[in-house]
Symmetry: C2
Subunit: 295 residues, 2 copies
C-alpha cells in the first residue's frame, strides 16, 4: 500500500463531501458563510473524518452512511481552531500557512463563524437522524450523544490549557488536558466509525484503545513540532509554546523524553490492530504517519 | 389570573429545573463550569423556556416531557448573550445588572463558556432522545432539527446586526435581522411546545403566527427600552444604540412610530389565540407583558 496515495484519496473524498455543505447562495449573511468556508476549506489534514471512514471500512463498505458524521466532526474541529486562535485565547495570526479567521475577516465574524460551524455540525446530525430508518436510530442517537459529550470534553480541555498558560503544571494535569483537548475528539471519531458500522463490543473496546494511543501520540508530536518543526512547512511560528511558557510534553519530559514516549505509544497503538488482516493497514500506517509527520 | 404571580411560578419552575443541570463537582475545569452557571443563573426573564412550557400546556399536562427542551433553549439563549457581549462584538460590561461573563471572568473563559452552553444544549437533547420511547422519536427528531436550524438563523441575525453597526440600513434588512436574531428562537420555543404536545397542524400554524408577532413585538420593545428605559431597572446603559448608531425600530420609525407598530402587532398576536379558552390566558397576558415591560 502506498500510504501517501491512500491518504490523499481519503482527503479528496472528505474535501468533496465537505464542499457539498458549503452555502454559496446570495444572502445578507454571505460574508459569514464565506468565513466558515474559508476555515473549513483551508487545507487541514482531515485526520478526524478520515478516522471515521477508515474505521467504518474495517467492517462495512457503504461509507456514505458514515459521511455525515465525518463532515460534522471536521466542522467541529474547525470551530475549535477558529475560537482557539482568537485574540482572547491563543491570539494566533496564522493557521495552515494562511491568516487565521479573525485576521482574514474580523473578530466578530470569527466568533460567529466558530459558533456557526459548531451548530452546523448538529444540523448535519439532525438531518441524518431525520433520514434514518427506525432500526438505525438507536445506534445513531448513541453516536449523537457521544458526539456532544466529546465536544464538551474538548472545550474543557481547551479551557484548562488556557488557564495554565505560563504556570507550572503537574504530570496529572498535563495528561488531563491532552486527554480532553485532543484525545476526546480522536476517540470519538474512531468510536463513531465502529458504532455506525455495527462493530461488536470487543472490537469497539480494542479500537477505543487504539484511538486513545494515537490521540496521545498526536499531542506529543504536536508539542515536538512546536519546538523543533519547520515554520515554513508547519505554516505557523515555532517556539511560541516556550515563549508563552505553555505546558507541553517537551517542557515536561524534554525533547528526547517526549520522543521516547511517542515511540512507545505508537507501538502500542499498532498492537491493538494486530488481530485485523490487511484491512487495518491504512490505520497502522496512519499511526506511523502521526509519529513521523513534519506538519 | 394574576399574571405576575403566574409568571413568577413559571420562573421558579424553570430556575429549579436549570439548577439540576449545574455541574458542581470538583474538577480541573471548575471555573469554566462556574462561569457557565454565572450566566445561566444571572436572573434572566426565562421568556423562552416559559413559552415552551406554556404552549405545551395548551394541549397536555405532563410538562416534564418538554422540560429538557425548555432547559436547552435557555442554555442557547445564554450562550448567545455571552458571545454578543464579548469585546469583539458588542463589548458590553453589564447584563442583568451584573458584570458580563468576560468582565467577571476573562475573555477566554467567556468564549469557552458560550461554546460550552451551546454544546450543553445538545447534550440535553441527546440525553432526552436516548431516554425516549420509539413512538416519540419522530417528533423529537423533528424538534432537534428545528432547534439546530433556529440557532443557525440566530447566529446569522447576530452577524448581520454586527456588520451593519453604524451603517444606514434598509427596512428590509432591519426586518431580516430581527426575524433571525430574536424571532427565530422565540418561534422555535412556541413550535417546540406545540410539536412535543402533539398539537394538530392547524394549531401549530396559528401558534407559529402568534410567535412571529410576539417576536417582533419583543424586538421593538427592546429598541424602545434601549432609547428611553430606566438604566437602573434595565441593568444596562441606555442610549448606547444611538451612540453606536445601531439600526433599530426607533432609529427607523421614531419613538412614536415604533410604539404604534408595537400596539398593532401585539393586538394581532392576541387575536391568534382567540379560539382557545381560558387555557390561553397566560399566553395572552404574556403578549401584553412583552409590550408593557420596563426591563
Amino acid at each position: 500500500m502506498n500510504f501517501k496515495e491512500e491518504l490523499q484519496k481519503y482527503q479528496e473524498l472528505i474535501n468533496d463531501e465537505l464542499s457539498k455543505y458549503i452555502r454559496r447562495d446570495k444572502c445578507p449573511e454571505e460574508v459569514l458563510n464565506n468565513s466558515m468556508e474559508y476555515s473549513l476549506m483551508a487545507g487541514g489534514k482531515r485526520l478526524r473524518p478520515i478516522l471515521v471512514v477508515a474505521v467504518y471500512q474495517l467492517f462495512k463498505e457503504d461509507i456514505e452512511k458514515c459521511m455525515p458524521y465525518a463532515v460534522a466532526i471536521e466542522m467541529v474541529h474547525n470551530f475549535s481552531l477558529i475560537h482557539d486562535d482568537l485574540p482572547g485565547i491563543d491570539n494566533d495570526d496564522f493557521r495552515h500557512g494562511k491568516p487565521t479567521n479573525h485576521k482574514k475577516f474580523n473578530e466578530a465574524t470569527a466568533i460567529l463563524a466558530g459558533d456557526g460551524l459548531l451548530n452546523n455540525a448538529y444540523i448535519v446530525i439532525s438531518d441524518d437522524l431525520e433520514k434514518s430508518k427506525s432500526d438505525e436510530l438507536l445506534k445513531k442517537i448513541k453516536v449523537f450523544k457521544e458526539f456532544a459529550k466529546a465536544i464538551d470534553r474538548m472545550i474543557a480541555g481547551e479551557y484548562i490549557d488556557t488557564e495554565f498558560e505560563g504556570k507550572k503544571i503537574s504530570e496529572e494535569y498535563l495528561e488531563y488536558i491532552h486527554k480532553n483537548k485532543t484525545g476526546a475528539l480522536l476517540k470519538l471519531c474512531v468510536r463513531m466509525g465502529a458504532i455506525l458500522a455495527d462493530a461488536p463490543q470487543e472490537d469497539l473496546n480494542r479500537l477505543t484503545s487504539y484511538a486513545e494511543k494515537i490521540g496521545l501520540a498526536f499531542q506529543i508530536k504536536d508539542d515536538i513540532l512546536s519546538e523543533e518543526g519547520d515554520e515554513k512547512i508547519l505554516g505557523k511560528p515555532v517556539g511560541n509554546d516556550k515563549l508563552l511558557e505553555k505546558c507541553t510534553y517537551v517542557s515536561k519530559y524534554g525533547l528526547e523524553g517526549a520522543k521516547e514516549i511517542l515511540e512507545k505509544v505508537t507501538k502500542e497503538a499498532i498492537e491493538e490492530l494486530s488481530r485485523y488482516d490487511e484491512k487495518a493497514e491504512f490505520l497502522i500506517e496512519l499511526a506511523k504517519y502521526i509519529k513521523e509527520r513534519n506538519k
